[in-house]
């Protein structure tokens, strides 16, 4: 209920919020539910995994646009002034508060407008193993790309978000890439511009 403590580090805010202000549930229920969703989508789209990827992304987008409000209400944090701050906010606060994990931020572009999140652990894909046909095309955790896309758009950051690699596909690590296209302008009421 207190005003945002700007002096506190984002890491401390994330940990404190997770510990003290967050109601928690068994991660396995989350994993199982997501698994039920993905497997049903694969069946519904007749194993057209490109369509499944798209559907997961749009589900994520719908989640993201709402989830960001929950995030802001919990943390009362202001907008970030640059992408470096944004990346820390996502990894140390957002991922911490919602999924209790802190992906590593890395692979910055030279313009500092794109970075990657390395998901060492991923509660969405615990105990998941993809069938051979799905390994080639399915981005199992693609809902996360959509969530970030939607959430960032709500704080006026127009970004592209996509998976570069995934352990489930046989890659050595799971990498999620975020690239800023532009900072959107706040709306101006009619007659004020």
């Amino acid at each position: 209920m207190s005003a945002p403590a700007q002096s506190k580090s984002l890491k401390a805010i994330g940990e404190d919020t997770w510990k003290n202000k967050t109601e928690k549930v068994n991660a396995e229920l989350f994993t199982l539910t997501y698994g039920a969703i993905v497997s049903q989508l694969c069946a519904d789209y007749d194993r057209d995994f490109q369509k499944v990827n798209n559907h997961l992304f749009s589900m994520g987008y719908n989640i993201g646009v709402r989830l960001v409000e929950d995030f802001l209400a919990r943390t009362a944090l202001p907008r970030c002034e640059n992408m470096v701050k944004t990346s820390e906010m996502i990894s140390k606060c957002a991922f911490k508060i919602f999924l209790n994990m802190t992906p590593q931020v890395t692979n910055w572009s030279s313009e500092k407008d794109a970075f990657s999140l390395m998901l060492d652990e991923n509660p969405l894909s615990d105990f998941v193993e993809l069938p051979m046909d799905a390994m080639k095309q399915l981005w199992y955790s693609n809902v996360l790309s959509g969530v970030l896309k939607g959430a960032l758009e709500m704080v006026q950051l127009d970004c592209d978000v996509w998976f570069v690699s995934d352990i489930l596909k046989g890659d050595p690590q799971t990498e999620l890439r975020i690239k800023l296209n532009k900072v959107l302008k706040d709306e101006v009421p009619i007659g004020e511009d």
């Binding site: 209400a73 009362a76 944090l77 002034e81 709500m154 704080v155 709306e187 009421p189």
Partner: protein, 159 residues
């Protein structure tokens, strides 16, 4: 400590919720979405918007330099602005300097719970382009939200 009215504006500059307790005398029930309040909402938004533009121009960088309260002859206007572009606005008397915690509570415990987490409620109250930039008319009509907000604010209403 007494409050007179409460408003929520969204990022499209639309008033998506308003509640006034001073319009009807001897009534604690107030009015919702009354036609009369439409003009007041526009004026209120315009004032905060303009002031905000001025303060942002005055500051060296544009981080976290929001208007928190405005004092006028007979009352105080408290504002709480989220990074997602929502404005929570409360009009009160002079007795309490800050209502920031009250507004933040409304955001986190009432708005998020009954609007954001409720899939049956829209998260964006402008249905199309024509309802953006202050031309929208849709309001939060969710009963749980309204009753929960009323219960929370009731003890602070001016007698």
């Amino acid at each position: 400590m007494a409050i007179y009215s409460f408003w929520i504006f969204d990022k499209h500059c639309n008033c998506i919720f308003d509640r006034e307790w001073t319009l009807i005398s001897n009534s604690a029930s107030g009015t919702i979405n009354s036609k009369q309040t439409e003009e007041t909402a526009k004026l209120l938004y315009g004032m905060i918007y303009s002031l905000r533009s001025v303060t942002q121009k005055l500051s060296r960088d544009d981080t976290a330099n929001d208007v928190r309260s405005i004092s006028i002859g007979k009352y105080r206007i408290h504002t709480y602005c989220t990074a997602s572009g929502l404005w929570f606005v409360l009009l009160s008397d002079y007795k309490q300097a800050s209502y920031a915690h009250v507004l933040q509570y409304i955001h986190s415990h009432i708005y998020v719970k009954y609007v954001t987490h409720n899939i049956l409620s829209p998260y964006d109250f402008a249905a199309n382009e024509n309802e953006t930039r202050g031309q929208g008319f849709r309001k939060i009509g969710n009963r749980n939200f309204i009753s929960s907000l009323e219960a929370f604010l009731a003890p602070m209403i001016a007698q």
